[in-house]
């Protein structure tokens, strides 16, 4: 495939003060810990249109490495260019300070507020005050206007979940083709789910631009493989998952070889730590993440991905609170059975259409969605969010990955 075989395509997005371009214009209501998650959900539900909650399960006092990772993700989602303004909600006794998160996000040039449930007089007072703050942030957000942007400003996250044999045969190669096109047009394509590189890491390693990136990649894969030892888990029981196995995937190597096809064929330019900032105009990069799809997507969105492309063979309905998720399936039965949850039918490849052709369809769909077209997950209000935890024993044995 020649360099620049794909020209950038224009779309209209929200250019933020830090230069990044959003494809949605949300107010994000972000709880600092699990104790504020219910309040965040209540605030978003009552404030309504354009206000999105990001509830999660993280505790009041996480260990040091876990705390760093949680802070990175909480700051990252507020800073994501799909977010016009953010409200951080805390109980008020968390180790993580809502004000510090708010200051860091405010430094990107967007309005940010904080709310402490204890200071607001409890649940009812907090919801009332939170709705006022969210409505005020939405008023500011409503002044934003879409303006011309192009592919080179997109950071597109590639993900798979509920994989079966068609994921590796069809859907992931289609996504890989679209990833190549995004990169050729000057944008960023990112894959993650590091456990799903096991058995295929030699192929990604050959694509690394230099030894430093290669060493980082292999160290991250090795760490994920060592977690099997640490947990006394035999990957043969959990990877591929029972669902994957029912779909015909036999070993982690087979799953991985199919999974990395999502990353296309261009050079691997960098390996980013979970939830950290992804480069704009950065080519093809990897984020180190767990295999759990909701945590993996959340990490890439915290890194600034504006659009997610998600392949599923057996059928997944998942979305994200602040980023559109485009569903691609290579399984014709799944496309038929779960039509309302699917965006792109990659099973056309099984009927003879080329991967290149369906990849082009997906590339166009990514830009239509960036332009404002809703995805199936958005139409159905699917909005999962979860932060990867770092158990203390894992950090003690394998080191601090942050």
């Amino acid at each position: 495939m020649s360099e620049s075989a794909t020209d950038p395509r224009e779309f209209r997005g929200y250019r933020r003060a830090d230069g990044r371009v959003g494809v949605r214009n949300y107010v994000a209501v972000v709880p600092v810990s699990v104790t504020a998650s219910a309040i965040a959900k209540a605030v978003a539900a009552e404030a309504g249109t354009g206000v999105r909650a990001l509830p999660h399960q993280m505790p009041l006092s996480p260990n040091g490495a876990a705390r760093t990772q949680i802070e990175t993700v909480l700051e990252g989602v507020g800073a994501n260019p799909n977010v016009a303004g953010a409200l951080y909600v805390a109980l008020g006794t968390e180790d993580i300070a809502a004000e510090e998160l708010a200051d860091a996000v405010a430094a990107t040039g967007k309005p940010v507020e904080t709310l402490a449930i204890r200071e607001a007089g409890g649940t009812e007072g907090a919801v009332e005050r939170g709705v006022d703050l969210a409505e005020s942030l939405r008023e500011t957000a409503s002044e934003a206007r879409r303006e011309t942007a192009d592919t080179s400003e997109l950071v597109v996250a590639m993900e798979c979940g509920g994989s079966d044999a068609t994921s590796g045969l069809v859907a992931n190669p289609v996504v890989g083709d679209a990833c190549d096109r995004i990169v050729e047009a000057g944008g960023t394509g990112v894959i993650s789910e590091t456990p799903e590189f096991i058995g295929a890491e030699h192929i990604l390693a050959e694509r690394c631009v230099d030894d430093a990136v290669r060493e980082k990649l292999l160290a991250r894969v090795d760490r994920r493989e060592r977690m099997a030892d640490l947990m006394g888990v035999d990957f043969r029981g959990a990877q591929p998952s029972p669902g994957n196995q029912a779909g015909g995937l036999t070993t982690i190597e087979e799953k991985s070889l199919g999974a990395i096809a999502k990353g296309g064929t261009t050079p691997l330019r960098d390996v980013i730590t979970y939830g950290n900032r992804l480069p704009v105009g950065g080519g093809f990069v990897v984020m180190d993440s767990p295999g759990y799809d909701v945590e993996s997507v959340s990490g890439k969105v915290a890194g600034g991905a504006q659009v997610v492309v998600f392949t599923t063979g057996r059928g997944s309905t998942t979305g994200n609170p602040i980023a559109p998720v485009i569903k691609v399936t290579g399984n014709p039965k799944t496309y038929e059975r779960m039509h309302e949850n699917m965006d792109v039918d990659a099973s056309r490849v099984l009927e003879g259409e080329s991967v290149r052709s369906v990849g082009g369809t997906l590339f166009d769909r990514i830009h239509d969605v960036a332009d404002g077209t809703l995805t199936a997950a958005e139409r159905h209000g699917m909005a999962e969010f979860a932060i990867n935890d770092l158990p203390a024993n894992e950090v003690a044995t394998l080191g601090d990955p942050t």
């Binding site: 030892d229 006394g232 036999t250 070993t251 099984l350 991967v355």
Partner: protein, 108 residues
């Protein structure tokens, strides 16, 4: 598609692969002409599942995508279903790590 379809009902992802993937639910007795040989399915093979093109001995490498995807754990005849009952991963087992991440696992 990258691979080569066989009678529109199975796909071989690389020429050196010794297993292929069913593209529909295949009944026992179905025959495929592959490389001048006739492979007859010994049992039904579901959509997305694999069958062997050649006979495999315990310890033989199972290849898909032109890469090693596992090791046979028992004798497998051409035309038999290939899955977790007769193939095991070479990676990710406690105390039995592949570890060697420099490509040795791939062999191809």
């Amino acid at each position: 598609m990258k691979g080569e379809t066989i009678d529109d009902a199975a796909i071989r992802m690389a020429p050196e692969d010794n297993v292929v993937t069913a593209l529909e639910d295949l009944p026992a007795g179905r025959t495929f002409d592959v490389d001048g040989e006739t492979v007859t399915l010994a049992e039904p093979v579901e959509f997305g599942h694999k069958f062997a093109l050649v006979s495999l001995e315990p310890g033989d490498t199972v290849r898909k995508y032109g890469e090693a995807v596992g090791t046979a754990t028992e004798p497998v005849a051409a035309g038999e279903w290939v899955h977790t009952h007769n193939v095991v991963s070479r990676r990710g087992q406690p105390g039995d790590r592949g570890g060697d991440s420099d490509g040795a696992e791939g062999e191809a």
